[in-house]
Amino acid sequence: MTERTSLETVDPAESGPAAEAGPTSVSSRLARLGGANRRQILGLVGVLAILVVVGSLTTENFLEPSNLVLLLSQASIIGVLSVGMTFVIISGGIDLSVGAIIALASVWATTGATQQFGLLGMLFTAVTVACVCGLINGVLIAYGGLVSLIVTIAGLATYRGMATLISGGSPQIVEVDGFGAIATTDVLGVPLLVVIFAATVVLGWLLLNRTTFGRHVFAVGGNAEAARLAGIDVRRVRATVFVLSGLCCAIAAIMLTARTATGASTHGDLYELDAIAAVILGGTLLSGGRGTLIGSILGVVVFTTVNNIFVLNNLSTPIQQIAKGVIIVIAVLLQRRANKEAAG
């Protein structure tokens, strides 16, 4: 079927409930749900392959192991965030506060007082602070019935403001030795950061795809009323995904703090946009109910690779920005085309 019916031009991914509402409208394209996801992912793998070719043609260093390891280490922070963000978006919400939570967790974990408790104290603080922030978001959204976008924009302001207040504006240096090791240790030649990233992805994937909780996240995002009438505690699911997102922020904050050896109120600035962009590029619907974790991770890797190639090629900043925008559009167009051909 090479002809394109007008049905297919109404993009289901585009406008949330609108397109959603018509179950028949996109069905021709999505013959099989699993298949559609697989194609989305294949499309991204294709884009990545093209990037790798471009990278290795235009620069000498691209395929060197040291560069690939660097690329993954850089991807790992946004990567971890995007795991939590995938849960949030599939459940039908959005979390704009992740960058700010990172800032607050990193600052709180690196105050003089905290550092006295050593490595464990710092880790514990980061996790507690970030999870509490996530919990506050989640409770306001799920039990207060507020819109997640507004709540997390408010969170963004509050948490970053608190980070600035606590740190007095200046970055706090990590003095605890063991902490810095997080960024420098290798496990069988792979940086610990990358190992943490991989572990987060695996755990997240299992949680999303193999547990009842994961199913409930999909159901709540796909049709909250149906989920409620099926006996699912919709509010608890909604609150939990934000706590999960907070937990991912904690991990990301620990990684970033270790990598920079500082806690700073500017840490994580605009990471929310990077994470959301990666998740959506990975094929998760902004309106909830559908998505894959693997897609999100590929999204992160694509974005990081683009950056890496730019740096290796020594492009000027504005040109890089322009090229990045154009590459994103080309990537989604390619992905869409792959999708359609496979379907036809």
């Binding site: 260093n61 660097l70 200046s170 950056n307 290796l312 900043t317």
Partner: protein, 324 residues
């Protein structure tokens, strides 16, 4: 110290060294450069001056990376440059503390680091630092304002400070220089609000400040980029005659206003973006194993703090050419 690559000066004769030696081509070296986003006039000038300076040497190849305000990304860039085995690094970090560990790694790997402007947290992280005198900017501005107010004989004047990005060390240095020097002269800051180095933020913050204060005598604005907006707010409120304004950093725009004397801008305290060119010079010498011919202790110094001059109508012509 200057930004030119001729290092003329009488003192070199003292030890009988040949003049201008360092301008002669040496061994080919690669300098890696990493700076924040050039979305700011001053930062843009930093990038341009570095590139121009590097271009002026036949023996220098510049590897400049994407400007970024994300420390994680800047760390990756520096690591990429280390991987590429550049001979020397020139780094203006988004914040000094967060880039300290990667700069230390570079130093350990035998790559000397020239730190520009925002200073690293550890001396182990750089071979030499080139930057401006932020505290000095504050005192320069304060002294100029105090002189004027003394002249005018104002009692209890309203002095407003529009700072730059709140959480930078340099902002705090500028502020403390300002308030301490004012205090020493018997004045005090009446109101301090922070903008974000952008014209837009300057416009909106100053708009509100003008609303909060019925009368303002003097304004010190930390950054000339945001100063464009601060100035627009004053002019559009029709209160140009009520106050005078001191800028910061030394943009062409502000210097032209000083020269023309057409509004509230009376002075600006320098924070020269040519420091990146100086840094390129230092980096080249370090990589080539050369030294500074016109110093008695010839090794490249570990710290170069540029003087923050106060540009007024009297000396503006002298500074206009190096403005950005």
């Amino acid at each position: 110290t200057g930004s030119g690559n001729d290092s003329g000066g009488g003192s070199s004769q003292l030890v009988g060294r040949q003049e201008g030696d360092n301008s002669q081509p040496g061994k080919n070296v690669t300098i890696g450069l990493s700076i924040p986003s050039d979305d700011h006039g001053w930062m843009g000038a930093i990038g341009e001056n570095a590139v121009a300076q590097a271009d002026s040497f036949d023996d220098v190849t510049l590897e400049a990376t994407e400007g970024t305000n994300d420390v994680n990304r800047q760390i990756s860039q520096v690591k990429t440059l280390i991987n590429k085995k550049v001979d020397v690094l020139a780094i203006l970090p988004f914040n000094g503390e967060s880039l300290t560990s990667v700069a230390t790694q570079a130093m350990r790997a035998g790559i000397p680091v020239v730190n520009i402007d925002r200073v690293f947290a550890s001396k182990l992280a750089y071979r030499t630092w080139v930057g401006g005198d932020n505290y000095g900017m504050g005192t320069g501005a304060a002294n100029f304002i105090a002189d004027r107010l003394d002249e005018q004989g104002k009692q209890d004047p309203t002095i407003v400070e529009i700072t730059g990005i709140d959480n930078l060390q340099l902002t705090r240095d500028r502020s403390s220089g300002f308030s301490e020097a004012l205090e020493a002269r018997g004045y005090a800051v009446s109101m301090s609000q922070s903008a974000e180095f952008t014209p837009q933020s300057g416009r909106s913050v100053m708009g509100n400040v003008l609303q909060a204060r019925d009368h303002i005598d003097a304004v010190w604005n930390h950054d000339d980029n945001q100063g464009v907006g601060v100035l627009a707010a004053i002019e559009q409120a029709g209160r140009s005659d009520e106050m005078f304004m001191v800028g910061g950093a030394g943009s062409k725009e502000m210097m032209q206003h000083i020269k023309a004397g057409d509004g509230p801008v009376a002075a600006t305290v320098l924070y020269p973006p040519t420091m990146s060119a100086t840094a390129i010079n230092m980096a080249r010498l370090l990589a080539q194993g050369r030294d500074l011919a016109d110093l008695v202790e010839r090794a490249v110094p570990s710290n170069v703090t540029l003087h923050s001059e106060t540009v007024t109508k009297d000396n503006v012509d002298q500074h206009l050419p190096t403005s950005f």
